[in-house]
């Protein structure tokens, strides 16, 4: 059996790649997908911790994260589509309306 800390290390790698993707890219869809990557990394860490402690509560938490992620993706994509319909462009640099 592989030690759980390797799973957590892999989760750290995936989370970091997600952060880099969010900062590096301009397309809001790709940024959104990078956020999904980070959520998945957190889920993997949760399952690994649950495995270490020998109970299934970590997996229950991952189930809730999945449900929230599904809701978040639906609302977020609807917002992106609405913005695109209004502006006909899709770059996060244009979306500075609420920036101070």
């Amino acid at each position: 059996m592989v030690d759980e800390s390797w799973y957590v290390a892999l989760s750290a790698v995936l989370f970091t790649l997600g952060v880099v993707g969010v900062v590096l890219r301009r397309n809001p869809l790709v940024i959104f997908m990078s956020v999904e990557l980070m959520l998945n990394a957190a889920n993997l860490a949760l399952v690994a911790f649950g495995h270490r402690f020998g109970n299934a509560e970590g997996q229950t938490l991952v189930f809730f994260v999945m449900a929230v992620a599904a809701a978040e993706v639906a609302v977020g994509l609807a917002i992106i589509v609405t913005i695109f319909r209004l502006r006909r462009r899709l770059s996060v640099d244009d979306l500075s309306l609420m920036r101070w």
Partner: protein, 165 residues
């Protein structure tokens, strides 16, 4: 055997994540993300979380990614990122910042690993029965809240995507 499996799946997961953030075309990124989600599902299997592996494939790789691909097809943003980036210098700060974050996380993991970790308990059951029992006893209230959340998201999406909204 278990080590070889883990190394292969982990390498595939990291490679597909890199592909997601490097590829210009968002469709390619979406396909790389599907590969990544599949790899994470396989890792859930190696951790004994069978229900989550199935849910990952159905909910993430199925429903969520179909939604993504659908949105990409609707928006056709394939040409959006070809022009020169006016803020390229600022964006590249992501690389050292990411390296710093990664270093931090790895230090935390290694410190926790070397400290007195709790002894590995009995292997948790990841079966539908075990998860369902937890969901309908200890986590009944969050479970019901999730249904309210999904309903609210559904109504919100309909409101947002209405013509002339």
């Amino acid at each position: 055997m278990a080590h070889a499996t883990f190394v292969i799946i982990a390498a595939l997961a990291v490679a597909s994540a890199v592909g997601l953030i490097v590829k210009k075309n968002p469709i390619h990124g979406a396909l790389f993300l599907v590969v990544n989600l599949g790899c994470v599902a396989a890792l859930y299997l190696t951790l004994g979380a069978e229900f989550l592996a199935a849910a990952q494939v159905i909910v993430y790789a199925g429903a969520i990614m179909v939604l993504f691909v659908f949105a990409i097809m609707v928006l056709i943003p394939g040409k959006e990122e070809t022009g020169p980036d006016p803020r390229r210098r600022w964006r590249l700060i992501a690389l050292p910042a990411g390296a710093l974050l990664f270093l931090q996380l790895i230090v935390i993991v290694s410190v926790v690993r070397n400290s007195a970790a709790p002894a590995a308990g009995a292997r948790p059951s990841g079966s539908v029965e075990a998860i369902g029992r937890l969901l309908f006893t200890d986590y009944l209230f969050p479970f019901e809240l999730t249904s309210v959340l999904l309903l609210a998201a559904m109504v919100g999406v309909m409101l947002l995507s209405r013509r002339g909204a």
